[in-house]
Structure formats: C-alpha cells, structure tokens
Amino acid sequence: MAVKSISKRRSAVQSVVLPLIFGAALITAWQTGLLHILLNTDEYVLPYPTRIITIISENTDKIMVNVWASVQVAVLGLLLGSLLGYLIAIFAATFPKFGSGGLTIVSAFNAIPIVALAPVIINWTKDVSSEAEVRSTFAKIIVVTVVSMASMSVNAYRGLTELPVFSDDLMKTYAAGRLTEFTKLRLPNSVPYIFTALRVSVPGSVISALVSEYFAEYVIGVGRQIRENILIAQYSTAWAYIVTACIVGIVMYAILMVIEALVMKKRK
C-alpha cells in the first residue's frame, strides 16, 4: 500500500517534471539558436524568446485589450453554442426519428470551412446594430457558436442515449415518468460526454474566434493582430501575439480541467 502510494506520487511528480524539462530544453535550444539550425530557419522568422517577451512586456496594455476582445467572443460563443448543441441533442433524443436526421445536418456545419463560414455570417449580421463594434462582436460570437454547436450536439446525444445496460428497464420497473427518467438517468449520464465535447470545442472556440477576427469589420483581437503583423512582415510582434493566443488557449483549457475535476468529484 505504502509502496503503491509512493510510486503513484512519483508518477504524478514525473508527469509534471518531465514535460517541464522538455519545455525548458526546447526553449534553451530556441534561445541559443540550435532550433534555428535544426529547422533551417533564421532569427527573423523565428525570433528569440527574449525578444518576444520584451515585446509582450512593452505592449501589455494593448495586448490585454485584444485578449479581452478575443476571450469575450470565444467564451460567449462557446457557451451559446454548447447550450444550443445540448438542446439539439435533447430534441434528438426525445424524437429519435426526426432528431438523428437533424444531427446529421448540424454536423454538416462542421464540414464547412471556417474561412467560408466567417465572411458569410459577417455579411448576414450586418444589420444587427449600427455600431460596428457591436455587430462585429455579434458576428464573431455566432461563428464560434456554429463551430462549437456540432461537437456538443453529437456528444451530448450519445450521452443521452447510450445508457448503461438495463438502466432503462430499471427506470421502467420504477414506473418513472419521462421527466424523471430524463433528470435522474439521461441527464447525469450525459455529463461526462459534455466534457468530452468541451475538450474539443474549447480549443476550437479559441481558434475560430481568432479566424473570425480576420474578416470582422471592427479591427480588434489577437487573431487580427497576428495577421496584420504577419502581412506587414513584423514577425516578432506576430510571435508575441501567437504566444499570447497560446496562453489564452492554455488558460481556458486549464479552467475547463478544473471545472471537470470538481464536477466529476462531486458526482462520485
């Protein structure tokens, strides 16, 4: 028992320390120019970490404005899309005959490339508000909504319908109504599937928020900054925003992990 817990603890420590060592090695190779030799590139396209950090620290205020704009879009779109996706899944589970066909349609949205989707949606939402900032934000949120809807609806549908063996029959022997069956059996059963969906759609929401900014009328956001700077050949600044985008993604993912851990713990 004691041996086991020690080995478990060691394993936990390892899973933190080993990636950190790898990361440190990578950054060292990057800073010393070894990475440039390996990848056959120059310090212009791949600036040194110190330069990137300098730019981030010199422009913190501006970067935070852009981060806030992107995070807003990603989070609101994610929430709205997941909610809609879940409602579609409920609908599909309630009317399996019509629902599964509807699910196919929803997942078809996933097959439309976001570079095509974003300009279309921005065109469709032109008249939401006379304020460019408002209608741009709205359009970007809708893009993220559509993207995160599909993964949630497909996964939640599985969670609502793939029930443990006999549980359905058990509910019937208790003479439970459909509402009881839904709240006591289907809903809890779908919770892990919700998190499966979110693990896909959280990174997806960040990326699609960044891409939707490319096309938006109101010029703001981390994605827009990456693109502007690359097109005017400011790679160091572009890198500063790429690193920022990664951090945003990681933080959002970490928050999801914490929420998942809390929820799953409670369920046990």
Partner: protein, 273 residues
Amino acid sequence: MKVIKKIIGSKLFITLVWIAVIIVIWEVLAFRVAEVKRTPENVLPHLTGVVDSLTSSKTINGSQTALEMVLENAGATLSRAALGYVIGIASGFVLALLMSLSGIIEKIAFPYLMLIQLIPILGMAPIINAITGDIAISRIVIAAILTFYPVAANTLAGFKAVRREAHELMYSYAANKFQLYTKTMIPACIPYFFTGLKISAPMAITASILVDTLQGGIGLGCLLSQSLKGAMTRYVFWDIVFFSAVIGILSFYLMGVLEILLCPYKRLEKKGR
C-alpha cells in the same frame, strides 16, 4: 435484411425532410435579400442560381467553366488533404503507440499534444513555409498537424481502455511485449482508432481548404478567396461552400464504410442486429 433497409430508408427520408425545410427557409430569405440588395449573391443567393452557375457552360477564366474549375481545384485540394491525412494518421498512431509503450514518453508528450491544438497554426503558416521552403509541402504539413491530434488522442484512449484486461490475460499466456501488441492491443484499439479517423477526415478537408488560402496557386481555398475578393463571380464561392460541406460529410461516411469493410467486429455487430 428488410428491417435494415427500412431503417436506412426512413433515416434518409428524414434527413431529406430536414434538407427540404432548410431549402425552404433559405429560399424565402433569398427572395427578401434579392429585393433589397444590389448584389444579392454576395449575401444569400438563390439556390437555383448556385445550381445554374455549376451547370452553365459560360467560361469563368480563359478556358474553364465554373464546374470544371471547382472540380480541377478540388482534385488538387483533396489530394493534398489525403496525403496530409495519411501522414497525420500515421504519425498520430505511431505517437500513440510510443506513448502507450513508454510511460516517460507519454508524460513528456501528452501536455504538448494538447498544446498543438491550442496553437493558432494558421498564424504560423509563413513560418512553416519558411522552414519547408515550399508552399505545397507546407500545405501538406499543416493539414497533417491539424488532423493528427484526434487520431493520436483517440488511439491512445483505445490503448488505455484495453490495456488492463489484455495485460493480465496475455501475461498469463506468458506472451512477450511484441505479441501483446500485435495480438491484442492493436486489434482492440481499432474501434477507437476509427473514431479518430472519422473525426479527422472532415478536418483534413477543411484544413487543406484553409491552407490553400495562404498563397495563390491551384486549390479550392485559392478559388474561394479569389471569389470572395471579387476576382471572379461570387457564385464560385457558394459552389465551394456547398461542395465542401458535401465532401466533408461523405468523408465521414467513407471512414465508416472503410471500418465495416476492414474490421470483422463491425460486420459481426451488423449481423448480430
């Protein structure tokens, strides 16, 4: 047999009903848009207009009609997608295998596997282009990067799921590691592997359309962005939107069919029903 046919038939029917509903809504709105915009095709064209643009024999550039153009460019994009997909699958599978074989590799690689899907890879495209020195190779590499995560993650989940029971059983047979993997682990994780394949097939296609837009040349994404930038009729844009949606769905089903063809367990499952 009859029952299966009936189910397929009815599901198809329902999907068709859904499509019909969407078409009706689309057309109603298209009529509204046509009334009030000078260039309605930029916002919401009539579906008949989209179909017309595909069947019309009018040439868009010097020599090709819209349909010929879309098909030729689709050929280029889809072949790049297929190549990137295969590379992504292979590297995803190998990485999952390595991670399953060695705890150390798993611990090192796992956080970075997560990280890859958090990187705005499109923003890094010029950097990848600078490294590979060739736009065609960059496009394939980016498509591979974008598709490899679902395969790796799902395959790894498969290995983990079967590890315990399989281990115990095979140890009792005194099997070595090679036998353990070839006889049980790999076959057992195939369903998970296919789940990854199904998720990433449409992704490979959207990814290669996306990377087409990085630079000119031949490809659906190039056409799409040219049409969007007014270099040709806007209907080409709509043609590609519909075309890519259809191809994306087909690719998903293609993987399902492949699974049934290649894997005995699926056929058994079908018969069992």
